[in-house]
Amino acid sequence: MSAHDSAANDHAVSGDHHEGDGYDFAHPMPLPMLFTVFAILIALTITTVMQASFDFGSYDVAIVMAIATVKAILVGLFFMHLLYDKPFNLAIFLSSFVFVGLFVILTVSDSRLTSKDFIPVDDAVITSTAE
């Protein structure tokens, strides 16, 4: 018996039972969960805009990136369904960030180490367009 038939049967039998029945491999996300996540995301956006008007010095980037990462994790886990997905999909998605990290860290650190030899080009502020 094919999976299609079995699903159809399940559906016919389960009728209006709670969600998850009859969905075979589908996994509909509960709506309250989606709305909660959205509310948290908006709250975090407001927080990050608010905190930008305070000066935290060198921690500034870290705070901003931390908030962005929390948002990204929320989007990933719930909107992108990773929480209920196959672990393999999560693994390949996370592995991409490992390689991004490798690339960015090595390149940036090399730039940093050579930056002392770097003689910047200095050109004047443009004023020629004034008439």
Binding site: F88, S96, F99, L102, F103, L106, T107, S109, D110, S111, L113, T114, D117, F118, P120, V121
Partner: protein, 578 residues
């Protein structure tokens, strides 16, 4: 099923020959049935034709270069034209031939059949990746026709932002080819992950599939970085965005980082599938179980991952910081470990095997020889101190030709000869094939061994003219290139002749145990009637030589007949109504 064969204690299994209706080459006719095919085998064949043409073009350019270098002052071109010719030779060979050669041409044909699947996971994506390849090739040809390209295949800034040749056209071409490569890799990853039939566990996969999987990982992870690098380069040329262009505080070394983050792993895109082919050929033609299956499988993945850590060794003299060069130099040596593991395992496989010196085996043996030289000379270039001396000399040229031509091209030819009977159902002239392998081996060494000496004596690469003291070695190299060219021509003729007057190939001409030898030669369009029985891909115990019909057959051990008792009328789970 073959009658008249007398092998005791078993039934003989042989799929025989396909009917015209089944044969994937003939089951539908007309040009359109090829152009719009979704059959991975036909796409593989179209790729094969495409990359062969690209290779012919790149090879002719190479011959022209060698001809030019016959004389210290150059014989053929002006210096300017010389720059364009070597750039196009490099770019065409890298982007249009080596990268798609094994994965896209042979891989497309073989991956689903070896896996026991009906097709790749996304047939339409597969076809579109072929057409992207065509578009990319068109862009390259347009660049050639417009105003040439003289940056070298690496498009280094700041020269690539200032030269007035058609850099934009060529980079867009490479960008499109990158997408083609990504789609192929993506397709294979998904196919291998989700389309394996029952019984095909990860460790029953042929090593070619492991190699293809590792290649696909690199294609997917590295190629997008090339894409963005080339797009930024186009933006740099059109809008001067100042990221790579020193005129606006950009940093050319950053460009090199970006570029080699792709292009070093791309070297493994080129060589890893070759490893896979050699693993297959060595085992099948030695008629012996592959030695260290898991080591070869894991080392493919290890190479793919370690390949991402070593890109800096292309830039030791480019102005990286001392610290970074030391780190990259140290990391470079780690890659040699899994490569060496493979070579040792191949040698151990051949040890005490019953080796038949068929054409594919000749190519495989010359691969081991040439790749070892190529790999070992890589150590000189990975060592910081010696690289200072050898960087940008002919030593580098010889090194990467030993790996790319002696490695990938020879393996590609070996694989082509190995699977040719499967692909087209015809046997070629064995002696002609062996002769071509001999010529290629001889010509190749004559071309590139002198270049090692040239390089260590200080002959810089990419020069149109040279000191008269280098003349002897350069002349030897040019003659070698001619022999190499003749050898390749012989190989082509042998293969094409087989289509016309070759003997019909049996399903299993070499005695292989992987799944592709279980279907007819050429395979039917549906690959397998039902999901095939999967065993150890390198277990040759049940493969026997059938003297009478000159073929290998699979002998299944005799099975006991099931006891003939009446089944009970009541099903065992009768109470559970379904």
């Amino acid at each position: 099923m073959s009658a008249g064969l007398n092998i005791p204690g078993g039934t003989v299994r042989d799929p025989g020959f396909p009917t015209e209706r089944e044969n994937y080459l003939t089951n539908s006719k007309g040009v359109l049935s090829w152009l719009f095919t979704l059959d991975h085998k036909r796409i593989g064949v179209m790729y094969l034709i495409g990359v062969t043409m690209a290779f012919a073009l790149g090879g002719l350019l190479a011959l022209a270069l060698r001809w030019h270098l016959l004389d210290p002052d150059g014989t053929l071109f002006t210096n300017n034209i010389y720059n364009q010719v070597f750039t196009l030779h490099g770019a065409i060979m890298v982007f249009l031939f080596i990268i798609p050669s094994i994965p896209a041409a042979l891989g497309n044909f073989l991956v689903p059949i070896m896996l026991g699947a009906k097709d790749v996971a996304f047939p339409r994506l597969n076809l579109s990746s072929f057409y992207l390849w065509i578009f990319g090739a068109i862009f390259f040809v347009m660049a050639l026709c417009a105003s040439g390209l003289d940056t070298g295949w690496t498009f280094y800034t700041p020269y690539s932002t200032t030269t007035d040749t058609s850099v934009i056209m060529a980079t867009l071409g490479a960008f499109i080819l990158g997408f083609s490569s990504i789609f192929t890799g993506l397709n294979f990853i998904v196919t291998i992950n989700t389309m394996r039939p029952p019984g095909m566990t990860w460790f029953r996969m042929p090593l070619f599939l492991w190699a293809t999987y590792a290649t696909s990982i690199i294609q997917v992870l590295a190629t997008p970085v090339l894409g963005i690098t080339l797009l930024l380069l186009v933006a740099e040329r059109t809008m001067h965005i100042g990221i790579f262009d020193p005129e606006y505080n950009g940093d050319p070394v950053t460009y090199q980082h970006f570029f080699w983050f792709y292009s070093h792993p791309a070297v493994y895109i080129m060589i890893l599938p070759a490893f896979g082919i050699i693993s297959e050929i060595i085992s099948v033609h030695s008629h012996k179980h592959i030695f260290g299956y898991r080591f070869i499988a894991y080392s493919s993945i290890a190479i793919a991952l370690l390949g991402f850590l070593v890109w800096g060794h292309h830039m030791f003299t480019a102005g990286m910081s001392d610290m970074t060069t030391i780190i990259f130099s140290a990391l470079t040596f780690t890659v040699s470990v899994p490569s060496a593991i493979k070579v040792f395992n191949w040698l151990a496989t051949m040890y005490k095997g019953s080796i038949s010196l068929t054409t594919p085996m000749c190519y495989a043996i010359s691969f081991i020889f040439l790749f070892t030289i190529g790999g070992l000379t890589g150590l000189h270039l990975g060592t910081l101190a010696t690289d200072q001396h050898l960087h940008d000399t002919y030593f580098v040229v010889a090194h990467f030709h030993y790996v790319m031509v002696g490695g990938t091209l020879v393996a590609f030819l070996g694989g082509l000869f190995h699977w040719w009977p499967k692909m087209f159902g015809r046997m070629y002239n064995e002696n002609g094939g062996r002769f071509s392998a001999f010529l290629v081996f001889l010509g190749f060494n004559l071309t590139f061994l002198p270049q090692f000496i040239l390089g260590s004596r200080g002959m810089p690469r990419r020069y149109a003219t040279y000191d008269p003291e280098f003349a002897t070695l350069h002349t030897a190299s040019t003659h070698g290139a001619l022999i190499l060219g003749i050898g390749l021509l012989v190989a082509l003729i042998v293969l094409l002749m087989s289509l016309v007057r070759g003997k019909k190939a049996s399903a299993n001409p070499w005695g292989g145990a992987t799944l592709e030898w279980n279907c007819t030669s050429p395979p039917p369009f549906y690959n397998f009637e039902r999901a095939p029985a999967v065993g150890d891909p390198y277990d040759f115990h049940s493969i026997e030589w059938d003297e009478e019909n000159e073929r290998y057959v699979t002998v299944d051990p005799e099975r006991k007949i099931a006891p003939e008792e009446e089944p009970t009328t009541e099903p065992a789970h009768a109470d559970k109504k379904h």
